[in-house]
């Protein structure tokens, strides 16, 4: 089947029902996408599917065919950061960092839909993304910073 990930077309030979997460990680070696729970409870596997934040552990590969998949490594690169990533670096959000790919992808999708999210909106949208290290105060602050930056731009 054909998958477009981070702007690159791939041909993969997998079962239709293999979760997109495992196609990305094990077949395409895109390990910026993380496995945390496999049951839509942690958000570590969050990617964009045609611009919407989804849990890639819940998307069957067959359903991603023909869609544009964006992962953390496609969102921005160390020398060309996305505004959300830049805000994350500025606020020194990460501890172990394992949740942060998913947090950043979720936050980037949030800001696409709501350029000035309130704390209440942030609470609702970001609460599906678990951070076991407890970086929540910095996540909140970084989203506000990213929102301000994106408005300027």
């Amino acid at each position: 089947m054909k998958l477009t990930v981070d702007g690159v077309a791939h041909e993969v030979d997998v079962e239709d029902d293999m979760p997109l997460l495992w196609v990305l990680r094990d077949e395409l070696k895109l390990t910026g996408v993380k496995y945390g729970c496999g049951i839509a409870q942690c958000g570590a596997c969050t990617v964009h599917l045609d611009g919407a934040a989804v849990r890639s552990c819940q998307i069957a590969a067959g359903d991603a065919e023909g869609a544009e998949v964006l992962t953390i490594t496609g969102l921005g690169q160390p020398n060309a950061l996305h505004a959300v990533q830049a805000a994350w670096v500025e606020h020194q959000v990460a501890q172990c960092g394992y949740c942060q790919s998913g947090q950043i992808m979720q936050a980037a999708a949030l800001l696409e839909n709501d350029s000035e999210p309130t704390d209440e909106v942030i609470d609702i949208v970001m609460s599906g993304n678990l951070c076991r290290c407890g970086t929540y105060p910095r996540i909140r602050a970084a989203i506000h910073t990213a929102a301000a930056k994106m408005k300027e731009a």
């Binding site: 997998v14 079962e15 293999m18 979760p19 997460l21 495992w22 990680r25 094990d26 077949e27 070696k29 390990t31 910026g32 993380k34 496995y35 945390g36 729970c37 496999g38 049951i39 409870q41 942690c42 570590a44 992962t71 953390i72 490594t73 921005g76 690169q77 160390p78 950061l81 990533q85 994350w88 670096v89 020194q92 959000v93 990460a94 501890q95 172990c96 960092g97 394992y98 949740c99 942060q100 790919s101 950043i104 942030i122 609470d123 609702i124 970001m126 609460s127 599906g128 993304n129 678990l130 951070c131 076991r132 290290c133 407890g134 970086t135 929540y136 105060p137 910095r138 996540i139 909140r140």
Partner: protein
Amino acid sequence: MGRLKTLTRRAFLVGTAAVAGGVAFGVYTVRRPHENPLLGDLEPGQAALTPYVRIDGDGVTLITPRADKGQGAYHVQAVLLAEELDLDLAEVRVDPGPPSAAYWNTALAPEAAEFTIPAQGMMRDMVEGGLGAVMKVMGMQITGGSTTVADQFDKLRAAAASARETLKLAAADQTGVAVSDIRTENGAVILPDGRAIAYGDLAGAVAGMDVVQDVPLRAPAQWRYIGKPMQRIDMLGKCTGTLDYGIDLDVPGMLQATVVLNPAQGGALNRFDATEAEKMRGVKAVLPVTGGFAVVADNTWRAFQAAQMVVPDWGDTSNMPATMEGHWQALSDAFTDDQQDSRQRDDGDVDSALSGGKIIEAEYRAPYLAHAPLEPISAIVRVDDTTAEVWTGTQIPRFVQTNVARIAGIEADAVTLHVQMMGGSFGHRLEDEVVKQATEIAVQLKGVPIKLTYAREEDMTHDFPRQIAMARLRGKVTNGQVEAMDLSIACPSVIVSQMGRQGISMPGPDSQIVAGAWNAPFAIPHHRVTGYRAAPLAPISSWRSVGASHAGFFQNAALDELIFAAGADPLEERLRLVHDDLAQKVLEAVADMSSWDGPLGNGRGRGVALTTSFGVPCAEVIEVSQTEAGLKLDKVWVAAEVGRVVDPVNFENLVQGGVIFALGHAMNCEITYADGIAEQSNYHAYEGMRLYQCPDIMVRGLENGDQVRGIGEPPVPPAAAALAGAIFAATGTRLREMPFNKFVDFA
């Protein structure tokens, strides 16, 4: 190829070893009172310099055995190195030890010594009768993260300073310029005419020189990095998905595996039928491992799927009590003279003080808790006839090496270990079951690197959780003051359980049963803390802050009841009772930060707690309010005394994270067992804290003490009690058992 300098009676000295293409500098610690335990086994060419600094054509690399589980251990060490060696922080590379045995000899690493040498030395100390020594030993064995800064603050700077001065000397020799005219900057020696010689270009010359010893360390006023906000060296990688964790590693020819273990903790497997599983796409093998089976496939998900299709016949199950009532009963039964483990606090005359008058009594409970770091545990192991190679995130490299060697039937030094970045640990990676199982698989598939990834469900249900614990208070108040406090705490020994899995027996009292309670810095006239050791129940392991995670709650919650009975203010009475200067200052700090001024009223409440753990007094004030949706956590103020804050931003992040970790579990989490089977299998049943429940958390690091301390664990112990105090103030409901959501609703 290397050589070690003569040892003196100094606390530590700097040695060098020539390494391929350069030179290594490292600190050699002389452990007292034990004479250097490592030297006897040193072969020529082996240098016990860990962590050490390698300088070669590629620049400066810190080789460290200290695991980074997310707390910024690599970063903090890089800061200490950059400070004295005049490096740009961004240019420092950190390597947990490249594959060559010459670089990574765990048998000689201080990390290994912390586990093995003291364990032997402990027997001696025990015989000599020093409980203090035992505690010191245990502290070293189990603290992991909080020891990094404390341990390295002087050592790494000393190594870097010696390296700097030796490099200058080498440059002076080469150029004929007086060493006093030479300075260093940005990874290079600078000559008076402005010419720069990169450190790497001097490495060859330095390798043959005597090291300049006893270089005075720079004064705080000269520091460029320490104490200043800076960017963590792993931040960019972690925000761009470009940093690999152990679970992300790809070794050529590797196969993916997963295991399913007897659902009952510690249970056995009789046999399994893999007929259906073996027919599934991508499945390479279904193999037995201790207590279960493994599926090996070409894709992790395929291994997960096929594992569901294997039909196991489980054998003997766990011998823990069938119900949680049974577990609690075992603790309740442990409060006997026979099972008394320690009485490290016995001030005044508790028995007479409590022989009459109104006695306040209460009982407290702390449940089992999973570690559940977000990265499920994994390990890659390749075994052949004489060697093995291991890639995994671990805090116990020496045990890993030994266990892999034993299972593979090879020599320990034929095991090469590549320590990987960890997506959290909280103590989880002080265990190595995953490596042992990966080795069992790899032995059956020789030559093939096997990556074993636990499904979250296996990770959570087969975790060795935080100990279950119970406490009983008897106390008395007089004239508006706390007069007597008799606190008894019972739990199984976490150290015995944990070390037992490594074949090490731990005689003597377990100070973790009462950690944070026996040493509570309060001068209560009649004050006794007694530890009782319950029989082993579920196998347990160190969980962030270890014993203080339950005892800090018990001590503060019990003190709160007495203070309430005395009609006193929780913060003022603690301030009146506190007898330790540093602890007093952290209490004063949270009083100031929160503008503490008695009850708030209107459905709002504040609580306060103070626990000294890992040498760090940490006080917290928490404010909650009642809302229609339930109790809302509004604000937390934290102050901790750490001697020196190396990186204020990382410090704040770690403290906030510690508070959130503690509160999330105190509010929402427990692991319960039915017939030995953990009933919580994934985050839906074990949520911790999510963002919507997270309060604002204000942090202050105090630097009054002269000991530099780590901050990974100390913010955990006071949090639950401060929250319980706040809930009592807001609602009148006294919470004596975690998780609190069994008794109150949170918004």
